[in-house]
Amino acid sequence: MLLWIIQRDLLLAMRRQSDVLTTLFFFIIVVSLFPLSVGPEMNMLRTMAPGIVWVAALLASMLSLGRMFSSDYLDGTLEQMLLSPHSLFLLVLGKALAHWLVTGVPLVLMAPILGIQYDLPADALFVLTASLLLGTPILSLIGAIGAALTLGLRGGGVLVSLLVLPLYIPVLIFGSGAVEASSAGLGYGAHFSLLGAFLLVAVAFSPWATASSLRISME
Amino acid sequence: MNWENWSEFFAMGGYGFYVWGSYVVSFVCIVGEVMLVSKRRRTLQKQRGLIHEPTTKEIENETTP
């Protein structure tokens, strides 16, 4: 069931062609806007780089949250999912994973290239990528809760950011903190273990919260 | 007593702007909150004649949890 729902969502993402690409381009554009607006000094850009990449990743992942449930909601598929004999927990977990595969993974793959634009050294690049790899699934999982709660509310797109961004903050801090720690020559192990712990907690609880939110929203 | 006279009291040792800025805004916030709630209540009372339909049968079991 889990695999099956992931497969379906990936199929839909492929069918809508531009979905994967556009999130990715959004990420790239936001990261590239900063040198334009902040100015071209390399030293400063280098210090800012992990922060900017992380904020951009967070925004990109957040902006695509809207699509996680809303199209299923509008055309009645979600109603059918609630009426399905399958476990809603798994269904929701599947959807969050599919979201991550479609939005998170491309970001992770793209990050090193963007890091090079900001002249990051190789090990910082590695830490940046690894932190994104650990962090982006958390974003998808937490985001699912917000997306489920704001279902069908017309102002939804922006409301979801309001709900979800404060919850993203720890991920952001530890994600970008890891890179900065490694640049400063400090260990980043602690950051990574914390991110890992967040991930475990999120996998265990967020589908459950999301499932109840969905039931609430559909009532 | 800390203050010789009122103007000293208002000056707050040169920090008047900050101290009174805090307290005045706090006071305004509290008054504002009270006013918002009472306005909400008044709108409700204004509406009640319009909205309430004595014809619909009342829902007794709605009042208990």
Partner: protein, 247 residues
Amino acid sequence: MAINWFKYSSPATYYSLAGKLIPIFTVAAVLLAIAGLYIGFFVAPTDFQQGEAYRIIFIHVPAAWMSMFLYLVMAFWAAIGLAFNTRLSSMIATAIAPTGAMFTFLALWTGSLWGKPMWGTWWVWDARLTSELILLFLYIGFMSLQAAIDDPRRADKAGAVIALVGVVNIPIIYFSVNWWNTLHQGASVSLTQSPKMASTMLLGMIIMSLACWMYAIAMTLIRSRVIILERERHTAWVAELHEKEAA
């Protein structure tokens, strides 16, 4: 004790009980505030380090405390509402949020008005300040979510979910922000706390905190009564109530 608690969880009973309690809490809040302000401004001595500016403390600290407590209280009632499907507790949660947000705002406002003379800047990205700011966002998120939903039952439940998720996150946010802040060489300025506070200062602060508590309770009662009236305006007892008031 044979109190029937469920009796008080009926909106009708609560409504009249709250009506009786409101004056008590209001008077208590006013009296305590007068006493607290008197102590704060006329009894407490000038701080040798900060001069008179420290007098902001009598509103700043109570506001900061309230902002945090109220979030917990709000999440508690919301959780009860979600778990036991008691609409009254959800309404109380809804009623608390604006007051909590107001105190959060006041903590930020008075804090930065304090920061300017003490640190020379309105704002630093200090751990405590930052988490207070995030707390404001959590409150606002809760309120806008509820405002965006028309159906009150759904609004209650959705609000409860976000309040609970937020409550789990508050410690995480607090510690992560704290850690984030101290990992770097730290903010160039830190809270200049005098280790031994004059006992009158402490007294003034505590009395002002109590005043804020009373105010928050009174406000919650008042607002929850309005919410009850809004939501139950079509029930028999509200109609009776209106008739009684009109007569």
